[in-house]
Symmetry: C2
Subunit: 108 residues, 2 copies
DNA sequence: ATATCATATAAACATTCGCTTATATATCAC
DNA sequence: GTGATATATAAGCGAATGTTTATATGATAT
């Protein structure tokens, strides 16, 4: 059942708090790495590694602009991934709960 | 973000091939442990442990009848769990691909 | 009661995972 | 150029995961 195996692999990406939060944030707009670092309060390499996994499965796209790399959601509207993300809180709620409304891509 | 943490925990249950297959089979009807063992070709304790995890998160129900324990799906129709399971193959397809159409609860 | 079948639990183990620190690469400002 | 900022990669580590084997529990049949 290769189909189930593939789904399980993608769901594994969704089954981590940090990655599920990143994807939920990206529902609203693109974020650069340094913003995610400030919001999630984990190290920059940790964020980069999560983004790499998400990118390797085609769930996010990157766009380099200047010294920043912006990541955006890249999920088919009709996929089960999108179906799951429809249930996660939106970025405004997340930022408000985490008290990070002020974070912008001008990071340091 | 406790909501995201809870979702991630439940998605973790879906992100394993064996468990996702079990849940997909249960979309159609209840199965007993010994059937799942034959279908999945892993040890009986492995199946039991997966079922225990699924039960602990309320995703399956058990029903003891005689020496058999039957498990059935216990997922809210409107949840994201159900949304995911709508994308997995149905039991007939799974059994056919795995060549296990013959398996019944009279196991040995 | 004994033997058999179905299931659950415990222990052990290899693998995977997510994190950190350290380091490398690349861009920008001066 | 040099220094500061943004990001990626590598190595190391402890925790979690999924499996197996061994054992326990419980129901059924004889």
């Amino acid at each position: 059942m290769e189909q189930i195996r593939e789904m399980a692999d993608k769901l594994k990406l969704l089954s981590d708090y940090t990655r599920l939060t990143i994807l939920s944030l990206l529902k609203d707009r693109e974020f650069c790495v340094c913003e995610l670092v400030e919001i999630l309060e984990i190290s920059q390499p940790a964020v980069s590694q999560h983004l790499r996994k998400l990118k390797s499965q085609g769930m996010v796209k990157e766009s380099k602009r200047g010294q920043w790399v912006y990541y955006s959601l890249h999920v088919d509207d009709k996929s089960y991934i999108k179906a799951v993300l429809d249930y996660t809180p939106d970025s405004k709620t997340i930022l408000s709960v985490l008290n990070k409304q002020h974070v912008t891509s001008v990071c340091k």
